[in-house]
Subunit: 377 residues, 2 copies
Amino acid sequence: MATQRILDFLATRRPDGPCLVVDLDVVRDNYCAFEKALPDSRIYYAVKANPAPEILRLLAQLGSSFDTASVAEIEMALNAGATADRISYGNTIKKERDIARAYELGIRLFAVDCEEEVEKIARVAPGSRVFCRVLTDGAGAEWPLSRKFGCVPAMAVDVLRHARTLGLDPYGVSFHVGSQQTDLDAWDRALADARGVFGALADEGIVLRMVNMGGGFPTRYLRDVPAAQAYGQAIFSALRKHFGNRIPETIIEPGRGMVGNAGVIKSEVVLISKKADNDNVRWVYLDIGKFGGLAETMDEAIRYPLVTRHDGSETAPCVLAGPTCDSADVMYEKTPYPLPLSLTIGDEVLIEGTGAYTTTYASVAFNGFEPLRSYVI
Amino acid sequence: MATQRILDFLATRRPDGPCLVVDLDVVRDNYCAFEKALPDSRIYYAVKANPAPEILRLLAQLGSSFDTASVAEIEMALNAGATADRISYGNTIKKERDIARAYELGIRLFAVDCEEEVEKIARVAPGSRVFCRVLTDGAGAEWPLSRKFGCVPAMAVDVLRHARTLGLDPYGVSFHVGSQQTDLDAWDRALADARGVFGALADEGIVLRMVNMGGGFPTRYLRDVPAAQAYGQAIFSALRKHFGNRIPETIIEPGRGMVGNAGVIKSEVVLISKKADNDNVRWVYLDIGKFGGLAETMDEAIRYPLVTRHDGSETAPCVLAGPTCDSADVMYEKTPYPLPLSLTIGDEVLIEGTGAYTTTYASVAFNGFEPLRSYVI
């Protein structure tokens, strides 16, 4: 997944220290693949996955809409050339003054998952469209979902009815099947719940028009994942099954699926050592770790492909750790990572599939280390 | 632990958004308590705990030395007024060019835990003093230690012998009993190991002179912890027991114990909701979470005391979560946190004991949220 353009950039620029390089050609390909796979869905890129201005500008030019988590992300999307009608304030947890600021900026589409949030929006963003997030179980996802977002479908009916009562526009339902979701049936189960909310409200004369199917589209790490086309077919079949010939507007919010495989982190081996002479597991320490951008290795959730100049030669299991003085800064220990025996201190290690959820996760200055630098080419 | 000075600052300045306020008077008191409890040990403040310039300047004035994790932290300590002979480069994982830069800056004291690291130091920091870190089991610590740092005592003997062979000064042994360590016997076990390394090398004519007893001194979160005086007595007894009347120089490296209880984070309730009408656990969302500075709530390891204006009134269990669109951004869920039933959206929540390991852990811009601001008063 390290494209020739990325390899050429690294070979020419030789940047010092760890850095992420993102290839915009891959982002463009991903956007087109989503568009082709789900031609009737609007694409709202999840800005939080990677808010680099170059990525946002490209996607704005390609016609993407944007799913944002904060006023700062709304401003980034606007600065990249998106108009306010292409921006969703998709965080269900918003301060009332941030909702007011978003409304000033022209935003009219908001996520909710409880009546309290509906009330804030009714007060400071009158008449806006709201969609209610319903809980899903997240089974099959590699990056786990907690119950943090969403409510049970029965409560979503109450929430959207409350929105109508307060003068808002109850626009639809959203769900999220869990990030890096590889089980295509997950969308079927969630769409059945969404259809239930549509039906219950229709009985009361409230006609919802939109289903926001969230993200969850995986990127390829070590294992193959279904292609966008397979997701498209599975989702379309599920929509047809549950909504018949009255399929509503649909939205998708790819983040990881849009930029994950477009980025590669260049790192360096700082140290290779053992803890005792008779240990058979080596410790390999890189100049980037859990607090420098690889936060998604938490609980060893995401397992990135590593590329070294010794690949193909004999390997042995290694514990992989970061450079900080924090004992929690270990990426892979429970399941050691096979790395070439000939790997040495000073070697470059490319960490693939790191275009999403890396730069902005980096800590601001832990142990005095700079946040992860990023180049978008 | 929110001192009157901190409360007055918050009442007067009314800063918007989450922020940390650190009271330097508490830091001064902590420094003096360590000095009194362990009068024969040199104090090396662990800069990574909180590198705010005001804290470093105060400690430099009080006579503290500094334990640093990177060249950037060395420069911070020098800028705060410490001389190079009061600075230890305590990270066992260093790039050779960073060791060279530290040597240029005058640093002559380095941590190692393997022969490979000794070789780097011998090449670019000739003649320097090195101390070898030995593994401890970390039992009794709240923030867990992995096997990331250190080697078994038998290997430490080889490492320090190798240092002598390469012209370095084998100065001593270090260990770390685990952060927020409340078991006073932990130091006894580690000192027994250190004594073993001293003895083995003495038999070969290599005389070590120093034991670096690391950090681990706890700060008070929800439960009472032994006072510095108790630690001092336990450590002195263990030194006497293992080294008799030939007690070596000793170093301690408090971080959390120096600044943890000096800081309070001011946060705001963004949302309180339920996931279903019949849920009996409420979800309370703050404007700060795991990615905004409270990284040590990972696996619910550190449980901070929370203060609200409703304290003393009836409480009920809550899940406590942060403001980002990341489902992993939940602080306390397995063990819900009792919070007042009368807590409402917009209320201020003070998070106590947050002077250490918060500001620098904050992500640089996850979800568009700013890193944690900090005021040192």
